[in-house]
């Protein structure tokens, strides 16, 4: 059975189905992270010791800045990977996508060291409300980065075979993956100042 509207736009939405689907999914993700950001605001407003908790957590702003730069770079390589497919440059597509996966890996390794330092100093989610929301939000974000890496690794390996049979469909799949990756990066861009600076 052939899946309809994988390459051509559906007349009623004006989009191919995959793109419409990913935007619906991202809308649900906005609600998920939006709920957590709201929880952060309410917990912060209701706490008397927030600044003391924040200072006691000793978050590493330098590492977080490095991670922010890594994720911004990964969004550039992601969009270049998609653009390479659109311009029929398959070799460049693989190179840029590999760089995107590498950036995701670097982000998670840095996060691992950050978490390790926290646990070494006996800072756990149960320690105080700030650390609870910190671990919840950065942990959920980290899981999203990992999920994006899994999808991109698939497109780097077995998923890339589609280029020989249905190049336009693979290009669209990569655009969908890129939209998800950009959303995950955008969440970090908001998490960084909210958790590390304010």
């Amino acid at each position: 059975m052939e899946i309809p509207y994988t390459t051509e736009a559906r007349p009623d939405t004006g989009l191919y189905n995959g793109k419409f689907g990913i935007w619906l999914f991202l809308a649900s993700e906005v609600m998920l992270f939006g709920g957590l950001f709201s929880a952060y605001v309410f917990l912060r407003n209701g706490a008397s010791d927030w600044h003391a908790w924040h200072e006691a957590a000793e978050l590493n702003i330098s590492l977080a800045t490095f991670n922010t730069a890594v994720l911004i770079a990964s969004s550039v390589t992601m969009v270049m990977s998609w653009a390479s497919l659109k311009m029929n440059q398959f070799g460049r597509y693989r190179m840029y996508l590999a760089l995107t996966v590498l950036c995701g890996l670097i982000f998670l390794v840095v996060k691992y060291f950050e978490y390790s330092a926290k646990f070494h100093h006996q800072h756990y989610p149960s320690t105080n409300t700030f650390l609870a929301i910190y671990f919840t939000m950065t942990g959920l974000h980290g899981i999203h980065v990992l999920a994006g890496m899994v999808v991109n690794t698939y497109f780097l390996g077995p998923g890339a075979k589609m280029w020989r049979t249905e190049p336009l469909r693979l290009t669209n799949r990569l655009e969908i993956s890129g939209l998800y990756w950009h959303f995950v990066d955008l969440v970090w861009i908001f998490l960084f100042p909210v958790l590390y600076l304010l």
């Binding site: 989009l15 969004s75 890129g178 939209l179 861009i189 100042p193």
Partner: protein, 68 residues
């Protein structure tokens, strides 16, 4: 919205956040004279300028591609 437009939105927001962070770090440097604050501030402001140049070039290169 295409990936092209979402990328431009992302680069714009990143530029604003990096510029704001750079100013925040330089303000902290002038208050506490910490070398880390100075380094982070300069890095962030330079990165935000790089993003502005990159965003402009990206837009010009792909302006004929669909926005949908």
């Amino acid at each position: 919205m295409s990936l092209k437009i979402f990328h431009i939105v992302f680069v714009s927001i990143s530029t604003i956040v990096l510029a704001g962070f750079g100013v925040w770090c330089l303000r902290a440097f002038f208050l506490e004279r910490s070398g880390t604050d100075l380094a982070l501030g300069v890095f962030s402001l330079v990165a935000s300028l790089v993003l502005i140049v990159y965003g402009k070039k990206f837009y010009e290169k792909f302006k004929d591609w669909s926005n949908l």
